[in-house]
Subunit: 233 residues, 2 copies
């Protein structure tokens, strides 16, 4: 997923970087440029991937069906989500890709991903780089991640996961409900949020919410608001 990309050449380079490693599902979120002749030239033999790109107005829609989302970022954060190198992340990404769509999210050339966008993703991925010059080109970053996935896949046969991950939208809906319940019981004051929800969001990101667990947590949230609602699985 490319978010707010502004250079057509990077759209093409991304399509080529993906196809050469066997990936094909490109999503453009609020793109700031068109798929033009420069994009097609840089895509070379991967124009098909470029032309088939799905376009979304915002990141939440693009992520809705995913079971894992990893934001590629070079910045260190005060309140980080789980952060991995591509090499650390690739085996788990490949494993979960057997359960549902896995997204790798890249920000704009100039600004990268905003904190708000990063927070929507479950993981951060930091590509190792020169601390004195960490300005990786967007297409090159896509190439590194795509290469790492293929290289890891060819190195190993990975076991299937034995559980079903919750789609992104289900986790988002749960966190909305949880916030409401925490306000209702007087624990959370949205006027003085004290980073409570970002911290809970990070906790859930670390855990990796499964479908079955959504039911448990929705039940707990409901019981918080309306005591006397028992757990039924």
């Amino acid at each position: 997923m490319l978010v707010e990309t502004s250079h057509p050449g990077n759209l093409g380079a991304t399509a080529r970087a993906m196809k050469v490693m066997g990936l094909s599902d490109l999503a453009l979120v609020n793109p700031k440029c068109a798929i033009d002749d420069e994009a097609r030239a840089r895509a070379s033999g991967a124009v098909d991937v470029l032309e088939a790109a799905r376009v979304f107005d915002d990141l939440a829609d693009a992520l809705a069906d995913t079971v894992l989302s990893a934001a590629c970022t070079s910045r260190r954060r005060d309140l980080p989500h789980p952060a991995y190198t591509p090499r650390q992340a690739a085996p788990e990404m490949l494993k979960l890709a057997q359960a549902g769509p896995v997204a790798i999210v890249f920000g704009s050339e100039t600004f990268g991903l905003s904190n708000e966008q990063l927070m929507q993703c479950r993981w951060l991925v930091n590509i190792p780089s020169n601390p004195d010059y960490a300005s990786l080109n967007l297409g090159a970053a896509v190439q590194v991640l795509a290469y790492e996935l293929r290289s890891t896949a060819e190195d190993a046969v990975l076991p299937l996961p034995d559980f079903e991950l919750a789609p992104h939208a289900a986790q988002e809906a749960l966190l909305v409900e949880m916030e409401k319940a925490l306000v209702e019981v007087g624990f959370h004051d949205p006027a003085h949020p004290r980073r409570l929800m970002p911290r809970l969001r990070r906790f859930f990101a670390k855990a990796g919410l499964e479908k079955e667990e959504v039911a448990i947590w929705r039940g707990i949230v409901a019981a918080m608001k309306n005591p006397g609602t028992p757990w039924r699985n």
Copy 2:
């Protein structure tokens, strides 16, 4: 080492791909284009690497001082040299780089390296790729090799996590308190436990509870039992 490169953009992309991974020694062998404005634009903040490139008339001269040379190629050969993936090659390259210059050699965009050029190198390096579309862009191939070297070099020293994990006893105490609260709000019936607590235990285990998060969850548990207890961090 770039051999017979014909697109200035690839010279720039190569310089950037190298610098971002901490490499700086670029050699151009019989280049078929000049370092022009397009090359400088694509180099971005790595124009210094581009301008410092050494230029050679032929590959033998460029390789003269090296202690190891690896030819990057996508083709399989009838009479192959030792062939490795980047991941297999990187540790030995890094080791030998302490003894003398190690060269990674990339051919022209259209023809790659000739058999005669391949034979001058000690190793072949094959980047894993999609058998149906293996046309890796030159700059992207350089990025993959440069990334692999840095990634392998950094793997030797892993940074400490920047957060403190909660001790086992703190998580156990939290789960005891949480169970009591869930009983109190009528959600959990210990007479019919339905694996609720083992599931919550597993969820917390997946997340890896941190010290700061213990306080948040103890607060939520307290607010569940006694609504009106606000979060104070």
